[in-house]
């Protein structure tokens, strides 16, 4: 049975003046998988990811969500369509509490139409839902949901950002370098968290430079090269050094096919 694609891109192109950032880029994310996107600096992978998350509008090409064409004009459009992005900077507000951060920009209101007009927040419901989400994802060392985010460790903050995405994403989460700023132990916990989120049925795009992490967690690896998809490989069937070789152009996919044969 052919796996079902949840998010697809067909021949995306994007030019910045004479610089080609995407040169007919294709992309396929299957339902319920973790797809790692790797590529050398300047290969255009961040432009591709931004196009998928609504931060960049491609010059031409098509993006399909669940088989239907979508046209994101802003990250908000992508979010409303069920695609959450966890940015490398995490996009958390340090002085605000965990609960505030989880609902930042989409606070729950109470008191009917009038309450909504006043912006009257339903603080109890926000706190309860935030706590439930953290418990569900096993982030149990965070006892106090009213704690400001800046009192948390790097791994805990990453955990909050992932939990927030998981709470609101109905389809896809895009994670940009989630382990780049973390130590070994915290990285492993975050990888486990990502796997847990996938097991809840959410498809995940993981951008990372960390090959061991990519190979540990990814179901498939999209290798981006020169503004387009160079190859899609199975981490169980390829070595890390071959993947890097494809990424840098030292090896073509045909070469690896020969090697495997």
């Amino acid at each position: 049975m052919k796996p079902q694609a949840i998010l697809e891109a067909r021949s995306l192109e994007k030019y910045y003046g004479s610089v080609v950032a995407m040169d007919g880029a294709d992309f396929d994310l299957y339902r319920g998988e973790i797809l790692a996107v790797i590529g050398d600096n300047g290969a255009g992978k961040s432009t591709l990811i931004k196009a998928l998350s609504g931060a960049v509008i491609p010059d031409s090409g098509q993006i399909l969500l669940d088989g239907k064409p979508v046209h994101f004009r802003s990250p908000l459009d992508a979010r409303n369509a069920g695609i959450e992005t966890v940015y490398q900077t995490l996009a958390l507000s340090p002085a605000l509490s965990i609960a505030d951060n989880m609902f930042l920009g989409r606070e729950l209101h109470s008191g009917g139409t009038f309450g909504r007009m006043l912006g009257n927040m339903n603080m109890r419901q926000m706190r309860n839902q935030a706590r439930d989400m953290l418990n569900e994802l096993g982030l149990t060392t965070i006892q106090d949901i009213n704690q400001p985010v800046e009192t948390l460790s790097g791994g805990q903050r990453q955990g909050i950002a992932v939990a927030r995405a998981a709470a609101f994403a109905s389809q896809v989460i895009i994670l940009d370098e989630p382990t780049a700023a973390l130590g070994v132990k915290e990285s492993l916990l975050v990888l486990k968290l990502i796997r847990d989120v996938r097991d809840r049925g959410i498809s995940i795009v993981l951008i990372s430079h960390n090959m061991p992490h990519v190979f540990e967690i990814a179901d498939r690896i999209h290798i981006h090269r020169m503004g387009r998809r160079g190859a899609v490989v199975d981490p169980k069937k390829i070595t890390m050094s071959d993947a890097v070789a494809i990424m840098t152009g030292a090896l073509t996919v045909d070469d690896t096919a020969e090697k495997q044969a």
């Binding site: 979010r79 996009a91 507000s93 002085a95 605000l96 930042l104 606070e107 149990t140 486990k192």
Partner: protein
């Protein structure tokens, strides 16, 4: 998942505590100041009459401080709060007394003046993205000049207002309580405004967006908050509150004067800073600002009653500001 929390030393724990409850410092300072002056000056300071007098004295600075708090929470500053207040009061006086139009219309046009002044500040800050300090330094001069254009440098005397538009002095009405306590309508208005702005900041999503915009604007934008709209809203609200302070000012001094209150904007910033609101944005509270205004009021009143020269009032308020900012820096360091 067992992410380990960093081990906390006692200092760190204390800093965490101050971080969680930033109004503790102004509250303790206020309590100490009141206790100290009660001890030194005695009955003359610690009487219902004098304590409510302090309230009257800080009403205007309290209102301007609340307006200023909103702006400083967004990591901005509004140097024009004092001139917006005076310009609005001049508009109210001219429209009702000089032109003889209904006083309700005068009040409305005064508030509208504050609205427009704030809107102009907000548009420059949010859309043209000029630094708030520069924008409001400029509009401080511009609005200051407009005061003289509108007033023609004339003072409207208290008697004239009483004869033609007494409602402008309404905020100066007093409620006399047992024991000599005197509360003005202006002070009650301050408390109502403080409660409303407290609700805005602590219970409404608009407040969350104000904090987030000042704390980490990029994060706020990525979370879908319209930061430019939030900034404009804050400067407009600040302008309207300044105009309200202009009405209270008429009640307090009885007359409308284009002169005076030159340091009102600095006093407002002082109240905000002593109240524990961070000049770097994202942290602070209305209760802190009210206490900050009261601390300044208590120091000025107490030192005056103790018979010390005015210079010692300025001296101590200056030290309070430096101490407050020092503590803020230290508490903020924990996030680094």
């Amino acid at each position: 998942m067992e992410f380990q929390l960093q081990r906390k030393s006692k200092t760190r724990a204390f800093r965490n505590f101050l971080h969680r409850y930033p109004t503790v410092i102004p509250a303790v300072t206020l309590a100490i100041a009141v206790g100290l002056f009660a001890l030194i000056v005695g009955e003359r300071f610690f009487s219902p009459f004098n304590l409510t007098l302090v309230m009257q004295q800080v009403t205007i600075i309290g209102l301007l401080g609340i307006a200023q708090t909103l702006v400083i929470l967004t990591a901005g500053i509004d140097l024009s709060v004092g001139v917006i207040m005076i310009l609005s009061s001049v508009v109210m006086g001219r429209v009702s007394v000089t032109y003889g139009l209904p006083v309700e219309l005068a009040l409305f046009l005064g508030l509208a003046t504050g609205f427009l002044c704030g809107l102009f500040n907000g548009l420059l800050v949010a859309l043209i993205r000029l630094p708030p300090f520069i924008v409001t330094l400029g509009t401080w001069s511009v609005y200051g000049a407009i005061i003289y254009l509108v007033s023609r440098s004339e003072t409207i005397r208290a008697q004239q207002i009483e004869d033609t538009a007494p409602f402008l002095q309404w905020t100066g009405n007093m409620i006399r309580l047992e024991g000599g306590a005197v509360i003005t309508y202006g002070t009650i208005l301050l408390l109502v405004v403080a409660a409303a702005v407290w609700y805005l900041l602590n219970r409404s999503s608009y407040g969350r967006h104000i904090y987030a915009t000042g704390d980490e604007p990029d994060a706020a934008r990525l979370a879908g908050i319209k930061t430019a709209r939030t900034l404009i809203f804050v400067y407009v609200l600040c302008g309207v509150l300044c105009a309200l302070a202009g009405w209270v000012l008429i009640g307090r001094i009885g007359a409308v004067s284009p002169l005076g209150n030159q340091t009102a904007n600095l006093d407002a910033i002082t109240a905000v800073v002593i109240g524990g609101t961070s000049l770097f944005g994202g942290r602070g509270s209305i209760i802190g600002t009210l206490m900050g205004a009261l601390i300044v009021g208590v120091f000025r009143n107490g030192l005056a009653l103790a018979g010390l020269d005015v210079l010692w009032q300025e001296f101590s308020v200056g030290l309070l500001i430096i101490a407050a900012v020092t503590i803020d820096q230290w508490v903020r360091k924990m996030s680094a």
